[in-house]
Subunit: 220 residues, 2 copies
DNA sequence: TCAAAAGTGTTAAACATACACCCATGG
DNA sequence: CCATGGGTGTATGTTTAACACTTTTGA
């Protein structure tokens, strides 16, 4: 037995203090005019991971981004035309890197736009479920993955980092406890450099140090 | 574009102090005579979850077992005849419930047999990779899931429970610390009953109390 | 000098780890 | 009476959580 095979991509970014997801407005039936996750059919002989990269590229112009499989969604009724198995992936991009590049490159969708995860529109297919499952995983793994750093520029302040944590977890954190934890983890590199262009005390900048992280986690 | 669609099932049990996986010996090409995970094609109009149950049933005679999706494996080269997308699931059964029922119910495989995860034979396709990924997940979630109790009979001793933990984690645990942790979690029900038929001091029996567990985890 | 955000320590409670001996039972 | 596994407590270090004020800076 054969099935159609697509991938759907949950693309996150962080902007205006909020965790955002990139959605596209469909220009084709079914679900014409609905918002949906960016997703397409996988080509014959195309590796799944390659398909994710291709779609990410077609939507954002970006390459070489961290991405992770969430799982397969294969409900017989998830698509009105019969089973279309989709494998969902999630990806994180830096909002500023991407904002000028976001535009539909196929006529299948009318526009692409960011939505805060706390204020999603009604979505096509089972895409709401996919996002919720993905979000849950992001929360669960926040302390064991490098995901938070994917949201931030290379150099960032501790307050920015804390805001990303808060947006993902959906709750406020204590500043002192947060800084203690981060300091204790010890995989940030403190720079001899501070923020510029702010009208208040400038915060120190930090970098994520991948080497220290890998030592900490116990690389295999 | 369409692809063949199978599911593969990682079926665990606990026996002789070891974590075991059920494998089948293939009687068909490709990989004739190799050991592989139990797996089959999903039927048209069959829900994926239904297919897992069906295959589990065909191999073990069991129904209504906890099962969880691991993810999709879709490499173009994972099957010699071209892409066959498989979605892997994992499942836990009680060895004693199952041991008399295990037998091939299709001529596609010659026999089914348990192997300790520490001594697996060479496996067909990418099944070794699937098992390793599944094992990792089992370890990661051991404290947050009810999986360990799926390995045990309704009434069990604390030593049996500890052995399951040890088999999954692949390391020894301190008896006192383990008991403190379990007591502290507080979702076991102590029975007024002890082991029978042992030639040493009989151990107290316990039950897993699902209600208490759900309160503890914070059910949603 | 004011507004805004940066930066900083202490205490209490919960939890994890290391470690060794006596007890109850059946044979 | 002995072999076997059952059962128990203490001390130490680590992690988490709660909580508020002073400092720096640019406008």
């Amino acid at each position: 037995m054969q099935t159609h095979f697509t991938i759907d991509c949950v693309i996150y970014s962080f902007n205006e203090g909020k965790l955002q997801v990139l959605l596209t407005e469909r220009n084709e039936y079914p679900y014409k005019d609905w918002w949906a996750l960016p997703g397409f059919f996988v080509d014959k002989n195309e590796e799944m991971e390659g398909a994710v990269k291709r779609i990410l590229y077609e939507h954002t112009g970006l390459k070489d981004i961290f991405m992770e499989q969430l799982g397969a969604f294969a409900g017989v009724k998830r698509h009105p035309q019969g089973r279309i198995l989709t494998v969902a992936f999630s990806t994180i991009v830096k909002y500023d890197d991407v904002k000028s590049k976001i535009k539909p490159m196929t006529s299948y969708m009318r526009q692409a736009s960011w939505f805060p995860v706390t204020a999603l529109p009604e979505l096509a297919f089972d895409h709401h479920q996919i996002i919720q499952q993905s979000l849950q995983k992001l929360k669960n793994n926040i302390h064991y993955s490098t995901a938070v750093y994917e949201f931030l520029p290379e150099k960032f302040t501790l307050t920015q980092l804390q805001q990303v944590y808060e947006a993902i977890l959906g709750k406020e954190l204590d500043k002192r406890n947060f800084r203690k934890k981060i300091a204790n983890d010890g995989f940030l590199k403190e720079l001899q450099e501070v923020q510029k262009g702010v009208s208040y005390r400038a915060a120190r900048l930090y970098k994520f140090d991948k080497r220290k992280f890998q030592k900490h986690v116990g690389v295999e």
